[in-house]
């Protein structure tokens, strides 16, 4: 099997394996959907009791205990892990990630935690893809594309939205649109969607009535973009705050998650719409069935943001897609009611129209991925007639939120660690190179006790410009002599027997270690205005590294990337 796959054309290989990955991603999302339905049904009788507010706390505690002690995985919804793996580790992901977060997320959401199933299913699909790629012994670049395919299949199948899956994968995970990526991810996404349709039926998740859209509605969209921008910035910042504060105040992770769940349960007593993934609440917004007025709609927006941050920020497992859709739909609803209140004479389009736009605005801003927002909303609502308005709101909302929060919620953690390396950036290209590949050995080692006379003789015999000085007894590196720096001594023959190499060398030349990364090395070059630096490890000289060699390898790496 492996032999035949490797004999195929590379693109064909990726298409075939992409289809298998699509099946894996599709099955993962169907499994999660079914488990959530079962979980919600199982807990339904308990929701009417006075103690129902404790359910999210129990769910969150169980979810984290399962994740840490049974699956022995780490916290977080997993999308940053997928992006890190794609950018730094050739798409390698652990097999345990294919199921750990699915189970954990099911416990969180089914018990009423305010989170979505999408991010866990993304890491699940990506992990399946990564392990399939490893099984077939594919190269890193191929594995990365398939991981993108796994993520796309997961999103496509959970929302029945193949194009949104492709857009999400290319925008948020891989960060580049290339033909090879597009074909493989397209296949995986289409297969994932079909698997979902086969097992769950072909349904548009939030289908609504047709709209009559006027020019005034288009003008109104601009204002909605401002509202969605602020809602998304509030969500992202509060999430970060809750995460920081909760991890500092409560060290036992399951108690922390339980406390978050308890607070969500209490909020849920007042605002039941904030509980769970919230798809029912969205249907109410879109189907004209949300009764309460303007103020309550605004409270739901704030309540959902707070509940989501408490659930995810304290360690509960789940993603932000679904909460963003709920927050967006209620933001749109609130805005529409506000417009009607402020300008009752104008015939505004209905609440569902603004709810859809609100969803697009919030999800685009939180993910900093406008294409994902646009395609997701048009596909999950079947509302292609609102395409122009959706594009307007998404683009303006992303642009505005970018001012306050320049990175997507998935990228922030990676940016904080300096690990976000987007394709075709200098840092990414340099990260592909290792210092060991760039070592130069065109130098002559000298010892500190050598006299200038002997050194001059040495100079006559070779054309080197750099002479590392190494202790003859211990073999330790001591300093560097650059030909240009000692030129003035060479013509003073009186110094030939009195001056030692020890006095000529520069012990302050910065050194590079094998553990350094190339961007750091370039910074050292810039700070010292040096062209060549010694590479020293454990006090021993391994070779020299020069700016010219780095540039040469950088160029070659760029050519390889272009060819790929």
């Amino acid at each position: 099997m492996r032999f035949s796959i490797h004999n195929l054309n590379e693109r064909l290989q990726l298409i075939l394996i992409g289809a298998v990955v699509g099946v894996g991603g599709g099955l993962a999302s169907v499994a999660l959907n079914r488990s959530l339905e079962w979980g919600a049904e199982f807990l339904h009788p308990y929701r009417h009791h006075w103690y129902s507010f404790l359910l999210p706390a129990c769910g969150a505690a169980l979810s984290t205990l399962f994740l840490f002690h049974v699956a022995r995985d780490v916290g977080g919804h997993g999308v940053p892990e997928v992006i890190y793996s794609v950018t730094r580790r050739g798409g390698l992901l652990r097999l345990r990630s294919s199921f750990s977060r699915l189970v954990s997320c099911c416990l969180t959401i089914a018990s009423g935690g305010s989170a979505g199933p999408e991010s866990p299913v993304v890491i699940s699909g990506a992990s399946v893809a990564s392990n399939i790629a490893s099984f077939f012994r594919l190269r890193d670049r191929q594995r990365v594309v398939l991981v993108g395919g796994g993520a796309a299949a997961a999103i496509a199948s959970i929302f029945n939205a193949p194009v949104a899956g492709i857009a999400f994968s290319l925008e948020a995970i891989l960060g580049e649109w290339t033909p090879t990526n597009l074909i493989t991810i397209g296949v995986a996404s289409a297969v994932g969607t079909e698997v979902s349709r086969l097992l769950q039926g072909n349904q548009i998740p939030f289908e609504g009535e047709p709209f009559i859209i006027s020019d005034m509605d288009l003008v109104g969209c601009l204002g909605l973009a401002v509202f969605t921008c602020f809602a998304s910035v509030f969500l992202v910042r509060l999430l970060r705050y809750v995460r920081e504060v909760s991890s500092k105040t409560i060290s036992i992770f399951w108690i922390r998650a339980a406390c978050g769940g308890l607070l969500v349960g209490l909020i849920g007593l007042l605002l039941p719409s904030v509980m769970g993934e919230g798809y029912g609440a969205i249907r109410n917004c879109i189907g004209y069935t949300y009764g309460p007025g303007l103020v309550l709609a605004g409270l739901v927006v704030v309540g959902k943001i707070v509940a989501t941050c408490l659930t995810i920020g304290t360690g509960g497992m789940g993603g932000l897609f679904a909460p963003c859709l709920v927050i967006g739909s209620f933001t749109g609803l609130f805005y529409q009611r506000l417009l009607v209140h402020l300008a009752p004479g104008i015939h505004w389009a209905g609440e569902p129209y603004f709810a859809l736009l609100g969803m697009a605005g919030v999800i685009s801003s939180v993910l900093q991925a406008p294409m994902t927002g646009i395609f997701l909303i048009t596909e999950i609502t079947g509302g292609y007639q609102v395409l122009v308005s959706v594009v307007l709101v998404s683009v303006i909302s992303v642009t505005l939120s970018h001012i306050f929060e320049p990175f997507s919620v998935y990228h922030q953690e990676l940016v904080a660690h300096g690990e976000l390396l987007r394709p075709r950036t200098d840092r990414r290209v340099l990260s592909e190179l290792r210092i060991t590949e760039l070592l130069e050995h065109n130098y002559h080692v000298v010892h500190p006790e050598m006299r200038l006379r002997e050194f001059v003789e040495l100079l006559k015999r070779n054309e080197y410009h750099f002479f590392p000085v190494v202790d003859s007894k211990t073999g330790k590196y001591l300093g560097l002599i650059h030909f240009d720096d000692i030129r003035s001594y060479l013509f003073d023959t009186n110094l030939y027997d009195s001056l030692l190499v020890e006095e000529l060398m520069d012990p302050t030349v910065p050194t590079v270690s094998l553990d350094d990364e190339l961007p750091e090395v370039l910074e050292i070059f810039e700070q010292g205005h040096d062209s060549t630096l010694p590479v020293v490890h454990d006090g021993r000289l391994l070779g020299l590294i020069s700016k010219a060699t780095i540039l040469d390898h950088y160029r070659r790496e760029l050519i390889v990337e272009e060819e790929v």
């Binding site: 022995r72 390698l92 652990r94 094998l514 006090g539």
Partner: protein
Amino acid sequence: MRNELLHVFRNTPFGRETLMHSVYFCKETGTSLRVYIPKFRQFLMYFEHEVVTVDLDRAFLRDPGTAKEHAEAIIREGGLTPYFIEPKGFTASTLPDLPVDYRYMTCPRTISNLSTKIGLGYIGPRVRNIIRNASFPVFIPTSVYKEWKSVVVFFGGSQNAIKALRYGIEISTVSGFPLLLFTQGEGKHRSYYEEGIQKAGLLDSLKTLNYKWLFFEKGDFRINLYEVPHNSLVVVGAYGHGAVREVLFGSKMEEIQTVLPNSMLIVGPNCAPVLG
């Protein structure tokens, strides 16, 4: 590949014995020692085709205040300079990645489960996973510190055994300790194995080392293992025949690790043959 040995330090008396083994190994093989003192309960190792998660038992995280001090004292006492690893990459905020371009790695029989499982016949699943995927051989020392004074290579003629032999020759050359080859004939003549060694271009190196060959045409393998010196380092290939064959016919490495109490250097299927 760096000429370094990776050691994950466990700040316990058992961990001290393991570190003393690593120090001795490094001194005898001219390898630099790199020590990782865990701050989290897991770390990852990204090998070429698989990422291995190492779940550490609680003992690895015990008393972090004294861990570095203890490790430094042991290493300095052994005459080496202590170097510590600070992971640069993090897959998640509590999940560091360790580099994998080392020449050797020390693992006790289990690093992921209870440290009580250190008896003969048991090698933990994470250690096995590292052996299967690593580009370096894994050094499994005895549970109590004991110096080794000779190198025994188990040679069965396979490609993996050739790799093990290369490592054995290298260690014997650098350390100056005598090299012994152990072969259980299994119906084949000695010349068959010699031919394999010659094809690999190792016969001359062996001859210069004045090696001794423990070649057994008859007898039970487990009984013949008694001939392995008690104070030798055992170098053996592992997982070279594929999972199916190993399940059906068993594995020599498993038999060896069940019977011999010696320190072992296990050469896995993905181990790089780069030496020198």
